[in-house]
Point group: C2
Chain length 357, copies 2
Amino acid sequence: MSIRRIYNFSAGPACLPLPVLIKVKEDFMEHGGMSIFEISHRSKGFMDICEDAKARISSLLGLDASFEVLFLAGGAAQQFAMVPMNLMDRAADYAVTGRWAKRAWEEAGNIGEARVAFSSEDSLFSRVPRPGEISLSEGTSYLHITSNNTAYGTQYREFPETGGVPLVADMSSDILSRRIDARRFGLIYASAQKNMGPAGVTVVIIRRDLLGRSYRKLPNIFRYKTHADAGSIYNTPPVFAIYMLRMIVQWIEGEGGVAEMEGRAKARADVVYGALGEDDFYELLADRESRSMMNVTFRLQSDALTERFLREARALGMEGLSGHRTVGGIRASMYDAFPLEGASALAEFIRRFRRTA
Amino acid sequence: MSIRRIYNFSAGPACLPLPVLIKVKEDFMEHGGMSIFEISHRSKGFMDICEDAKARISSLLGLDASFEVLFLAGGAAQQFAMVPMNLMDRAADYAVTGRWAKRAWEEAGNIGEARVAFSSEDSLFSRVPRPGEISLSEGTSYLHITSNNTAYGTQYREFPETGGVPLVADMSSDILSRRIDARRFGLIYASAQKNMGPAGVTVVIIRRDLLGRSYRKLPNIFRYKTHADAGSIYNTPPVFAIYMLRMIVQWIEGEGGVAEMEGRAKARADVVYGALGEDDFYELLADRESRSMMNVTFRLQSDALTERFLREARALGMEGLSGHRTVGGIRASMYDAFPLEGASALAEFIRRFRRTA
């Protein structure tokens, strides 16, 4: 069987590991006389998958039993609301480093007082804060950061020190792509569709003591505690998305874990940044010290050139390279499953395009 | 290729149409050099699928442009909260006809004053209200009903008259299984995993004028209007679940639409109720005039007999027949994709078991 695969540089949903896709397809109808879409969420088979996926995520992140892993629905955007609903007493601090960071901050403002602890909006979100640049406000319930900003191609190298204040991170676009000290976080959330799976499930990792916080009357479905108490099966979860997420997490483990993913991400990013940085033909959007290993963003000198770049790339089997519609230019997203050959192909094209433009 | 298929009587996730499963599997990797899990939610291909699915649901239900179809995440349980968050001013009426109806009522109590307009809890939810049995309370924002109650096997034949008060229905377990006058409802919601698709997406059908209601400050993500304004792509939706839901809705259309589904449901239910009702060996749980065409519930004379029934049924390739864990006994769920032969096989076994027990 030959499978045609393009290089998919999309920001998410994104490229997934081919061996996992092949296995999912092979096993499609082979779940005890049912397809994978028809198995019960209360079957032992599925509950084991769910628990196994949690345990593997926990282990890949080096976490112990003081953290709970939850599988929720609604994407990171739902977490923009659930985090303040659950964890904000009166006020919380937000580092506004991009479009989604800002949405998280705006949504928190619908719950309580959302404060701007840092903003790079003036420089079109070209950077994340430097160590020590954020000072926490009096009475803040947590600091919220966005570890990687897909639209601008920025990423934290070091995370802010917050002392006793819980650090909360949207890691949708770089979870399981690099080594971090996850124990420093109070809560991490990540939609699956970049590094971990298909769209439709969001991973929330919460320090158990935070499950006890309760500042306001909430619907049960929006309480983290409800889902923790029910082992993420409070109601019918997105069965298939969790099944596939677990296979991808297994794949990450099998390939060598987060350290290996980090090595691959660095290799891919180095190849592409290397090709871009040879002269001033391409304008990089992110400040050097904030550059993302997941999303490389740059601009050409005119819209016509951008169009031509995208068209010629597409003809070479490279898709999803358009910059975010609010930013323009080019964006190359390369998550855990993205092959190094795709990065090399892009780098080669970047060089050739410069010569022929 | 031979495919082993059991008869899957699960209450949901449930049996899906085999032709759809085969097609999904065939096309799995054939989405322009990507798998279906890797396509962008902002691609024209997916946005067309999403719009097409909405249009087909609207047409199957006989609705016009005064209704909006939304695809949301979080299951019916999330709608238990979103309905009162969006539509309840001070109070709302609930018909408590089962476990999920009660959960909807309880969740509404976390938002405002949730009133019990009817309850059959005293008779273990053996029935739904008779026409005229519900009287609406002063100042209610809506009446909430659960059109089919899976755990007890009850279903409304006629829906309550509510005059100018919006009628809101959880139709998770019988949407698109029978002809209804959907225009009489202010809001209908249904998780997909019974009659329409895999777990992971919930359909909400809302009368457009209700989108303008706003009684309290809400997070944007929990406002129906946010999702309507964004065409259900406010944030990354569960792409695959919507893709598959659309194929199932297409299948329903191709088979003859809701009228044909109703005929099949009636045929299946008649076969099973017929076999059960021949004497007193089996105790039916639902009152005759409330019997569901989707879920047939009954009890045997002892737990030992129940165990034996389940074991022997399983040996014959009939699975998912255990009653809901809070109810016990036997439950046969037969949604749109469930084949008549499965109902006949069960009926035959019901008769044989009576003879040999």
